[in-house]
């Protein structure tokens, strides 16, 4: 037997107890010591289930029937205990808040050792060592609330590394991070792997971001099966990603639009490795010259205006906003961006009246609305929270959507009419009698949007509308919002997703440390180095592609791409 094989799936399958069909079929996968693999796939492809099989939560916490074999270091995993598996496979969970079980950084890192009865002075020494490895040693006594998303993830990593595991598995490590922090996270994982020689599994659907550093293989999953297990260069030269509903790297999409053939020998895995021939570059330049058109006419009617708006939480300066003056035009679709704690949500909350500003004024269609209550403002400005589960309090969809009207004492017949309209717009009319619990995450999101729309606001603000969604659901939600926008509703999105902003927002307002630092067309923002740094964003690979092809005006290239992409998506090309 090969001693280097850490993990071996043979004809493996799994079916959850409560489900009628298996979630995984015919899984054959081998992982050798020191390898780095990326497991990608859309939601529902079975990749979370595969993660649970590898770390032992299946079959120990989630029950069901296993077929075939999974060997971990040569032993059948079924015959091992969850704790034995944990000493081999360390998992860094997607939600680093939830993984954070200790009161402080040090205790959290120590957690696994405490459970293993490691005593003093070993315990303190090893914690210090692990903290140093991921560079959180200055924060040992900090509570989770005092850390940034990236720091929390480092702590999670230290808490797993401390156990000397053979395999490090990262479950969607980029999901809760802003673009720049996500990039650093991938670099950290890469450096850690190089230093310790650990085997690494990254599970992610944001392929372009992971491939910022190289991996040995990409395992692509779809509908419970592995559909590819190949080097990244090979995968990106084919069409499988598109077929599975995974977003290709943007530079690949641009090259395809320009009819550049993508082959393995061009090393398309990353914008840093790609080699284009002169012929390819010429095609890109030609495509650039032939696309692009006039900007749609700017909107002029003002809906909301804030003047020197400031607000501070009792707790301190974090999340506060300072001297924000901006305008929102009627019918606009705009994004508010910036890193966590920059004050994006606080701004929205002050706008909706959840919090009261300490200085400044808010005008709605020219009227000062500060004296209006939360309830009154909601009839003009709706707010949709990030997590739909936080907004849903009724059992049935119809009741949930009708709630706001019932509480306002609207007559029954009018309620019926307005709820029907809202449900039809959101594509939920057919399901109106369903219980909310039967819906998927994306559908729940639409229920919460419907429950806001029913109040007939002129504008809705959505906090991270697509967080945690794969490309297919992302597109579904965003196209739906675009449709709402086309009906005349002003849509403001709070996000740190650069694709979203680039593709769907005409304008981006950038916050940093509670101040507005930029307010411009999205493509201008994402090609402005200074703003990118301050807001913890990342330059888009399209800009680099323009550079490679010798196009001087990278910003204009990005603008052409977006225009083309929008038409392409809506089937106008």
């Amino acid at each position: 037997m090969d001693r280097d094989i850490l993990l071996q799936f043979t004809d493996f399958g799994f079916q959850y107890k409560a489900q009628s069909k298996p979630t995984l079929y015919d899984i054959n996968l081998t992982l050798r010591r020191g390898e780095r693999i990326l497991i990608a796939g859309p939601s529902g492809s079975g990749k979370s289930t595969l993660v649970h099989c590898i770390n032992g939560l299946i079959p120990f916490s989630y029950k069901g029937s296993v077929t075939g074999s999974l060997k971990i270091k040569g032993r059948e995993s079924r015959d091992m205990s969850l704790f034995e598996i944990s000493h081999t496979v360390g998992t860094v969970l997607q939600d680093s808040d939830a993984q954070f079980v200790g009161m402080t950084v040090a205790e959290d890192i120590a957690f696994a050792l405490e459970n293993d009865c490691v005593g003093e002075p070993m315990l303190h020494d090893r914690v210090a060592e692990a903290a140093k490895l991921v560079n959180v040693n200055d924060y040992l006594s900090h509570a989770p609330g005092e850390l940034s998303g990236g720091q929390k993830q480092r702590v999670s990593l230290a808490g797993v590394l401390i156990d000397d595991v053979d395999i490090l598995m990262f479950d969607e490590p980029l999901a809760n991070l802003d673009p720049a922090t996500g990039k650093q996270a991938i670099e950290l994982i890469d450096d850690m792997q190089k230093r310790t020689g650990t085997t690494v599994i990254i599970v992610e659907h944001r392929i372009e971001d992971v491939l910022h550093r190289s991996v040995d293989r990409v395992v692509l999953m779809d509908k419970g099966r592995i559909v590819a297990d190949v080097p990244a260069d090979e995968l990106l030269s084919g069409t499988l990603l598109e077929e599975c509903g995974i977003r290709e790297p943007l530079y690949i999409t641009a090259l395809k639009y320009a009819n550049v053939p993508i082959t393995q020998d061009k090393h398309p895995a990353s914008i840093d490795t790609i080699r284009l021939t002169d012929e390819d570059k010429r095609k890109v330049v030609e495509w650039y010259r032939n696309t692009g058109e006039d900007e749609p006419e700017g909107l002029t009617e003002q809906l909301v205006r804030t003047e020197s708006l400031s607000f501070t939480y009792d707790g301190g300066t974090n999340r506060s906003i300072n001297d924000i003056s901006l305008e929102i035009k009627k019918g606009e679709m705009a994004a508010i961006i910036g890193k966590n704690g920059a004050g994006k949500s606080s701004f929205a909350k002050v706008l909706c009246g959840f919090e009261t500003q300490s200085a400044g004024s808010i005008y709605y269609m020219g009227y000062e609305i500060t004296p209006m209550s939360i309830k009154e403002r909601a009839e003009h400005i709706g707010y949709v929270m990030q997590n739909p589960n936080e907004m849903i309090s009724k059992v049935f969809i119809y009741d949930e959507v009708a709630m706001g009207l019932k509480l306002r004492g609207v007559p029954e017949s009018e309620i019926d009419e307005r709820v029907e309209k809202a449900l039809r717009i959101c594509g939920l009319w057919r399901m109106r009698k369903w219980p909310v619990s039967a819906l998927s995450y994306g559908q729940k999101k639409r229920v919460t949007i419907a429950s806001i729309l029913v109040l007939d606001p002129e504008m809705i603000i959505l906090d991270e509308p697509t967080a945690g969604q794969d490309y297919r659901h992302y597109t579904e939600i965003m196209e739906f919002l675009l449709d709402l926008n086309a009906r005349g509703i002003t849509v403001i999105m709070i996000t740190h997703d650069m694709h979203l902003m680039l593709e769907y927002a005409d304008r981006a307002i950038v916050f940093s440390d509670g101040r507005k630092i930029a307010d411009d067309k999205s493509y201008n923002i994402l090609t402005n180095g200074d703003v990118i740094n301050k807001a913890s964003l990342k330059e888009t690979s399209l800009y680099e592609l323009a550079g490679i092809c010798g196009i001087d005006d990278g910003t204009d290239f990005v603008r052409h791409f977006i225009g083309y992409e929008r038409k392409h998506k809506r089937g106008q090309l």
Partner: protein, 274 residues
């Protein structure tokens, strides 16, 4: 943000005591205060408690919410005590010195004295409990519970509950704001019943999301071997120092003092009316 029940990290001699010491001292102190109705002893404990509060560097403002909450219950309790047993004091002390009024609700010196003692008991224990809560790191508290023989899984869940209180507070705030926007009235404009109904509409999403969260946390804990062994070690556990021993001996002496007073008074009550 006003924390309802939370550790306040400050340097002080009391913070430096080990969690187990503080827990044992709290138990001893409470027992001493519970077992006696001797006014002198209780008054002494109240003064001692206030001094400790200063030593622990905790300001009344920081715990005012809980303190006010408990004081409210004390007032209700005292009134009830009088309404239901206006002559309990006379029964205890064996005499009845009517100060004013007549009949069932006549006010006697004995009753007032009894209720004074009752109130002193409150002021002798509550500040110490608050002091314990605000000077003991929750995980140290868990470690100390474990040290005195409580199963670590139980002890840890106590710490974890305390760990998540701030998160749940802020989540409650978010959910309640969004619900108010949809028309749930939480302000004083709404009637009490309406506000109660409104609160349930907010609690449902809060509970459901908390259940999701619990699943994720328990998975995260198991993946890091929580529950593997019968025992576990604690990062925050500290060995006893001389200060710990002194603190425990002092609190032990309180028990002795209260027992001695009980013998001296021939019962739990100090009787000045004899």
């Amino acid at each position: 943000m006003n924390n309802i029940f939370n550790y306040i990290d400050k340097p002080s001699p009391i913070h430096r005591l080990s969690g187990a010491t503080k827990f044992i001292c709290l138990m001893l102190w409470s027992f001493a205060a519970m077992s006696t109705y001797d006014t002198r002893m209780l008054a002494g404990l109240v003064i001692f408690g206030v001094v400790l509060f200063r030593v622990g560097n905790i300001r009344i403002k920081e715990v005012s919410f809980v303190f006010g909450f408990m004081a409210f219950f004390l007032v209700v309790n005292t009134v009830m005590l009088y309404v239901f047993a206006p002559h309990h004091g006379s029964e205890i002390y064996g005499t009845s010195t009517v100060l004013f009024g007549s009949g069932r609700f006549s006010v006697t010196a004995e009753q007032l004295f009894y209720q004074l003692n009752y109130t002193l008991k409150f002021f002798a224990t509550i500040p110490v409990v608050l002091l314990f809560v605000s000077t003991t790191n929750p995980s140290e508290f868990a470690a100390s519970l474990n040290k005195i023989g409580i199963k670590y899984s139980v002890a840890y869940s106590v710490a974890l509950a305390l760990r998540y209180i701030p998160d749940i507070q802020s989540q409650y705030r978010d959910i309640s704001q969004a619900s108010q926007a949809r028309g749930i009235e939480m302000s004083k404009k709404a009637s009490f019943i309406d506000r109660l109904k409104a609160a349930s509409d907010i609690l449902i999403p809060l509970i459901l999301t908390s259940v999701d969260r619990i699943e994720v946390i328990s998975n995260a804990m198991e993946l890091r071997c929580f529950g593997k062994n019968k025992k576990r070690t604690w990062y925050t556990e500290r060995p006893f120092t001389p200060a710990d021993i002194i603190a425990m001996v002092l609190c032990g002496l309180l028990i002795a003092l209260s027992t001695w007073l009980t013998c001296l008074n021939g019962g739990r009550y100090y009787n000045p009316f004899k």
